[in-house]
Amino acid sequence: MTTPSTSSSATRALGGLTLAGLALLLGYALVWSPPDIAQKDSVRLMYVHVPTAILAFTACAITTLASAMWLRRRSEGWWVLGGAAAEVGIVFTAICLLTGSIWGRPTWGTYWDWDPRITSTTLLFILLVGYLALRRIDNEAGDAAQRGIRGAIVGLLLLPNVMIVHYSVDWWRSLHQTATITRLDPTIEGTMLFTLMLGIAVFGLLFTWLLVHRFRVGWLEERVGATGLDQALLERRAEADVVMTAGGRA
């Protein structure tokens, strides 16, 4: 019997590629790419901040898609995928907010600014927290067949809500500051642009790797839930058999 594990040769290869990519990214982000003229070395945070932001929004899109598919097909794979994407997404959102805050200190002189992107990303974080809280209740409710549609409805509304919040916050702040601080220099080029692209690719790999593993753990959790009930039924029947035999002897 093999040791139960969520890895396969494909995910091991993916994990290895991610590690190699991260090492390469570290080299480019910290050593080979030049410091920014205005922001100096703090610009290096961009190579983590921007990719995590993109992937946080990607995670929301995956959750919404998975919720829609689950409502259509009711196959538990979609259910598990929705939760896995939200969980990985919340980690990336947290990293994005944290790096943004650290970056804001030297650039803007403050950890927090009422910038539209910070505000809407924080609201996105809370939307994900709410969705995962509701899912926990749905998961406690029992196996896939009895599971309610509450979590899926909130998951389905996740991306629309994120978009409405994003655009309204954007519009709200644009009235106050006509010229928002452009963090991403549009004339960015050369090694910096390559490093940013590398960052997006490597974090994309990391995201996929984490998502696959979280999906498999979720899948196994579903199996435990299903076999747990069968096991309990078998045990009860065995008890009944013992009682019957004991009764027969007496």
């Binding site: 939307l127 709410g130 809280a133 209740i137 309610g148 409805i153 509304l157 809500n161 409405i164 519009w171």
Partner: protein, 222 residues
């Protein structure tokens, strides 16, 4: 569908009229929130007058949580939810009726809050058409999204704590739009406020449409 909605809205409003929970508990709470803002923000420095639009809508938001919880608590007793499911009423109608009842209660609370803001914060009322339009659109958005998330959380053990975390981030655009609409009406240029009103109407329409579609299955399992 609209006949069913009328029945449900009439029932909910009659319950509120007889139980007096909205008038005796939620409305005083609304005034209390205004007093607490006054205590927290120094009343002498004019912050209250300048921030009255935002404070008004934050107070409405808190009250709407209470009104939404209440709208589904009244169904919890005496097997009300089962009766509702077995009544044969159109689920879309039930959604619209519940939302309409919440709308009426919130509108009444807004009148109380508006009087409170004028009296206690010294806000001068200008741009009445924009104020009214903003109130109507924002309240419709609060009621429709609130009813949808309210039935989602209804029947759960953790509903009191879950509803705010699910609903408040979703309502952030309503808070922004309503506050900007009010600011434009009360001191700024009224023309700046109408696009925000448009945002509020869009939000209300989106949630009303989605709510009428999703309410039936959600009610089944609440």
């Amino acid at each position: 569908m609209f006949r069913d909605a009328g029945l449900i809205a009439g029932k909910d409003l009659r319950v509120e009229l007889r139980s007096q929970v909205t008038t005796q508990q939620v409305a005083p709470f609304a005034i209390l929130v205004l007093i607490l803002f006054g205590v927290a923000l120094d009343p002498d420095r004019g912050i209250l007058t300048r921030a009255s639009s935002g404070l008004f809508w934050v107070a409405v938001l808190f009250c709407s949580l209470l009104a939404i919880q209440r709208a589904f608590t009244i169904e919890a007793a005496d097997g009300g939810r089962d009766a509702l499911r077995l009544s044969g009423l159109d689920p879309a109608g039930i959604f619209l009726g519940k939302a309409a009842a919440i709308f009426v209660q919130l509108a009444a609370l807004e009148v109380v809050l508006a009087v409170g803001v004028v009296v206690m914060y010294g806000t001068e009322v200008t741009g009445v058409p924009l104020l009214l339009a903003t109130c109507l659109a924002a309240t419709a958005g609060l009621a429709s999204a609130g009813t949808l998330y309210g039935v989602l959380a209804a029947g759960l053990r953790v509903r009191e704590t879950l509803l705010p975390i699910l609903l408040l981030p979703v309502l952030a655009p309503v808070l922004i739009g309503a506050t900007k609409g009010f600011e434009a009406a009360l001191g700024g240029v009224a023309a700046d406020g109408w696009p925000w009103c448009g945002l509020l109407v869009t939000f209300a329409l989106l949630y009303t449409t989605f709510g009428t579609l999703a309410f039936g299955p959600l009610l089944e399992e609440s």
